[in-house]
Symmetry: C2
């Protein structure tokens, strides 16, 4: 019908969408509305385009989800990598890690959304790998601080549980968000209780 309206561009110089565009849009949608809301047609609408485009780039919904998760996992692994590269002392690194988790909100919201469907065949393995990697990172730092392997793992699990749990509580809006002074006080409390006070 009307063709003149097709000159619309979200990013100024892109005329055709790439798989990467779809994957990033998918991750945004997941972060925002959850994995269940990841449907082809609504996503296409949000990109001002039709399904025809999608099914040219991807075989189906599952492949989009898998690709998006793969991208997300890679990104998360890179973050950890860079954290390890900074060779501060372990306590400093842990404290920094905790503080850093209070930023990068998109990654966390995706993580939170994925936590909702740990039994999904496509989500479960990715989620498990990411979680295991993060806990392993924490455990290694605690071990450097002098704890034996098992104690370090327990402590790492506790710290990480605290992180995941707090994400949930934030989503429920029962705890202060970043920006609130009470939030900073809480993070200090966590670091004090679980990191600084090492025997």
């Amino acid at each position: 019908m009307i063709k003149a309206a097709t000159a619309r561009k979200t990013t100024p110089d892109r005329v055709s969408l790439t798989p990467e565009d779809w994957e990033k849009a998918a991750l945004s949608l997941i972060a925002d509305k959850g994995v269940a809301a990841l449907a082809v047609e609504p996503l296409a609408r949000s990109l001002q385009i039709t399904k025809g485009s999608f099914y040219w780039h991807f075989p189906g919904r599952d492949e989009l989800l898998s690709s998006a998760l793969k991208r997300w996992e890679q990104q998360d692994a890179d973050h950890l990598e860079r954290s390890l590269a900074a060779d501060e002392n372990p306590a400093e690194r842990l404290a920094r890690f905790v503080w850093r988790t209070t930023r990068q909100t998109l990654t966390h919201r995706v993580y939170l959304a994925l936590c909702a469907l740990p039994d999904d065949a496509r989500i479960g393995p990715v989620l498990k790998r990411v979680t295991a990697r993060r806990i392993q990172y924490l455990a290694a730092a605690f071990e450097e601080l002098g704890l034996d392997t098992e104690a370090a793992r327990r402590r790492a699990t506790l710290v990480y549980s605290g992180y995941v749990g707090y994400l949930q509580l934030q989503a429920q809006k029962v705890v202060p968000e970043r920006g609130d002074p009470a939030f900073d006080a809480y993070v200090e409390h966590v670091i004090e209780s679980l990191i600084t006070s090492m025997p």
Copy 2:
């Protein structure tokens, strides 16, 4: 068409379903497959019955969800009530509380499922009330132990975050389950780190 097959009864002596039956079945389904899986027709099938029954007892899906959540919340509040009634000393009560959370798996699985949709208009308020109640319970105990109001609240938040986070990690199967000796060791570690070691 065929009418002779209608003499089916799941529980031997029940001839007609009650709203309570539907609500309990709904909670089981939520605990098992999540809130998104709560659909009228599948639920009816699992009860060996048709939609016609459901829409006689409930106006619609939303009302079933609301009723089921109401029942769940009441049940949870009762549990807390009984916990408070036992007038042990606060430290003992906290330790018992932590240990008790390792049982009542259905309640926890429902809680976990609800955590996945904190923004839902029907789920959010219920979830928020339950969470706030539990944290308040913990904070009160910590205050009895001598912490000032804010410190008690921070500590309670940390303990509760640890609980919620561990639920998530269990769902991901990256941490030991109840029954595993490592699980007991971990719970002991939590109690030791966050409760016993009070200044």
